[in-house]
């Protein structure tokens, strides 16, 4: 028995060391290629832009995934319709801005709240009465996502659309380094992600509601035994989680584009972010989003020539890798 444990411990350590080694090697590789060390031709401005792309994309991933992880952390609901809420939010804001000529920020708020309400209804109608059956809830949300994805095609069309950013934020700004210009709106998204991250962290740490959430994550049964209205807390959490998906959709629809299929890709990226970071952990979502965003953007540029077509696989390799070392994710706990 103890031998087996020793063996397990050893293989665990070994995997950890291997993980660190690979991480160092990849960073070194990227830096060598980017800065042109050891006789290569570097391209510093490109490196800066690509890294910024990774970080800003991580911001968007974080906004979407934080809602996902919040819901899971408290309620153990894996909302497989999270991506559908993202896309729906994006489409709503697109309609409001392009067709109703509404102010961008107003449309953003309205669309996000509307998606929060959609999420709330989803939770109340489909998920409230089967609490604790996590698999069944996941299946229900998968079914909902199939229906939503198919219904959004006739409702919003199948062609790609993109929301016009608010005036002044549509262009680019100079970074002050060798004449590199960078799209302003991507930086806005990053700023908002930081704001939301900080807001969530502050809210969870310092408000009464946050205290209840923390207590609920630690011990649901005990929290409800203390006389706290758990159902209300669940409803509010689901509202916020869905709202964040919708908000992400509005920003994503402006920063990138909206089309059928984006729902699945953002569900997948949320899944990767939270599995890497650890389900239910906000800090994990930050790290997971950063890891995914950077790997996503850097791999296409810095993989050795001839292998760049594997870039999309690398984001998933990241996931397998983390799981091999830590099955519950970097910040996860059982």
């Amino acid at each position: 028995m103890s031998l087996r444990r020793l063996q397990a411990e050893l293989s665990h350590r070994l995997a950890g060391a291997l993980a660190l080694l690979v991480l160092f090697f990849s960073i070194a590789w990227v830096l060598i290629r980017a800065l042109g060390l050891f006789g290569g031709t570097g391209n510093l401005p490109q490196f800066i832009v690509v890294t910024l792309n990774g970080i800003t994309l991580a911001g968007l991933y974080f906004i979407v995934a934080s809602g996902f992880t919040l819901i899971f952390g408290l309620m153990r609901v894996v909302n497989m319709a999270h991506g559908s809420l993202y896309l729906l939010g994006g489409y709503l804001a697109f309609r409001l801005v392009q067709q109703q000529a509404l102010n961008y920020w107003l449309a953003l708020v309205l669309a996000a709240i509307a998606i929060g309400v959609v999420g709330l209804l989803m939770q109340q109608i489909f998920l409230r009465w089967n609490q604790g059956q996590d698999l069944r809830q996941a299946l229900i949300t998968i079914a909902l996502s199939v229906v939503l994805a198919d219904q959004m095609i006739p409702l919003f069309g199948a062609e790609a659309v993109t929301t016009t950013p608010p005036s002044g934020l549509g262009g680019s700004i100079g970074l002050g380094i060798s004449g590199v210009r960078y799209p302003t709106f991507r930086l806005v998204v990053l700023g908002l992600a930081l704001l939301i991250g900080f807001g969530l962290w502050f809210g969870i740490k310092n408000t009464r509601f946050g205290m209840i959430i923390r207590a609920g994550v630690d011990d649901r049964a005990m929290t409800s035994a203390l006389g706290i209205n758990v159902q209300l807390v669940f409803a509010v959490t689901f509202f916020i989680g869905a709202l964040l998906a919708g908000l992400g959709g509005v920003l994503g629809g402006t920063m990138i584009a909206l089309a059928p299929g984006q729902d699945a890709s953002f569900l997948l990226s949320s899944l990767v972010v939270v599995i890497v970071g650890g389900m239910g952990s906000l800090a994990g979502a930050v790290i997971g989003a950063l890891a995914l965003g950077l790997v996503d953007q850097l791999s296409g540029v810095y993989l050795p020539t001839g292998y760049t077509n594997f870039s999309i696989l690398l984001t998933f390799a990241l996931l397998v890798f983390v799981l091999a070392v830590r099955p519950t994710g970097l910040f996860g706990r059982r």
């Binding site: 069944r136 299946l139 079914a143 997948l268 899944l271 594997f310 696989l313 099955p327």
Partner: protein, 338 residues
């Protein structure tokens, strides 16, 4: 009077089942080429794939979305060997099954440390990895896939005459069904059910739980790989589109509609799914909605799926007809696995 009613019901059931059996055996004779192949054959093949998913859930309590990826590995192997290396189809099929099981064991070693919903998500991610792998690697034909795969000469041309393929798929279905039922009753099967119900206790008893999970995953892969081989023979080609996210969800849909707790459900779900998928596009573009709503209705109303409903119905009739107070029939099932 009551007893006669019950006996009558039992006879009715037997005659019904026998009738279904006769129809299933005579599909190529009774129906058109198209129905026999697009409905009959496809139901059997998808049923086998779904059976691998249901086996994992019903016996070990693991819901895996990686089954499409596994049948994709088998399908690609058989296609590549047969088309590019000119390997005999039967040999290619055997190698494909072996490779798939080995890959599954390796993957299982990694994933079997996770449980429940984690396992679901990890297998989902692996399904996507397989999709991107096959669509990016030129050696596997990228997005175009591999065309012109011919089944063994014995089975004929499935497009023209599906009879040979149909009986092959039927025999495979029956054999695999029998095998699953048999494995369930072996010490290995009981150990797996122990892992499903009481993983902690099993560990305390000295069982190597991850190893058991890994082995179960490998067995599931064996079933899925046979479906993959048959699917490629039936379609005469394989492309990443055959294992994309939509197909992954489709397979889950089949398993859920049929019943996640009962192996028979795989073929029942596959039949319903195939019929809806084949015939509804001529009435509506939004047939995905139809499938999604069916899925939703089944999950909400009867987590045991159609198989669960059928058994529930049977039990209800029998109770009405005055059978004794039998409570815990085999169909009580771990249908929801929640």
């Amino acid at each position: 009077m009551k007893l006669t009613g019950l006996a009558g019901w039992l006879w009715l059931k037997r005659i019904g089942l026998a009738g279904v059996g006769v129809i299933v055996v005579l599909v190529p004779q009774l129906f058109s080429t198209f129905t026999a192949s697009a409905i009959g054959l496809q139901t059997l093949v998808l049923g086998i794939a779904a059976a691998s998913l249901i086996f994992l859930n019903a016996v070990v309590g693991m819901v895996s979305l990686a089954q499409t990826a596994l049948y994709g590995i088998a399908g690609y192997t058989v296609a590549k060997l047969a088309v590019e290396q000119g390997v005999d189809p039967w040999v290619a099929a055997l190698i494909a099954v072996l490779i798939t099981v080995v890959v599954a064991l390796l993957f299982g070693a990694l994933a079997s440390r996770s449980e429940g919903i984690y396992f679901l998500m990890i297998t989902l991610a692996s399904a996507v990895i397989a999709y991107y792998f096959f669509s990016q690697v030129s050696a596997f034909g990228s997005h175009e896939g591999i065309n012109g795969v011919a089944p063994p000469a014995l089975l004929g041309k499935p497009f023209v005459d599906p009879t040979g393929m149909y009986y092959t798929a039927l025999i495979c279905s029956l054999l695999l069904y029998g095998l699953i039922v048999y494995v369930r009753r072996t010490p290995f099967g009981y150990a797996l059910q122990g892992v499903r119900d009481e993983p902690v206790r099993m560990r305390t008893l000295g069982f190597n739980v991850p190893m058991l999970r890994m082995a179960a995953f490998g067995f599931g892969a064996l079933i899925a790989s046979i479906a993959g081989v048959l699917l490629v023979w039936y379609n005469s080609n394989v492309s990443p589109g055959a294992i994309d996210l939509t197909r992954t969800i489709d397979l889950l849909t089949i398993a859920v509609i049929g019943g996640l707790g009962r192996i028979e459900g795989a073929w029942i779900g596959a039949l319903l799914f195939t019929i809806v998928q084949t015939y509804s596009p001529q009435y509506t573009d939004r047939f995905e909605t139809l499938i999604g709503l069916t899925f939703l209705a089944v999950v909400l109303a009867s987590p045991g799926g159609l198989a669960g409903i059928a058994i529930g119905l049977d039990r209800w009739v029998r109770r009405r007809l005055g059978e004794g107070l039998e409570r815990h029939g085999p169909g009580q099932g771990r249908a929801d696995a929640g």
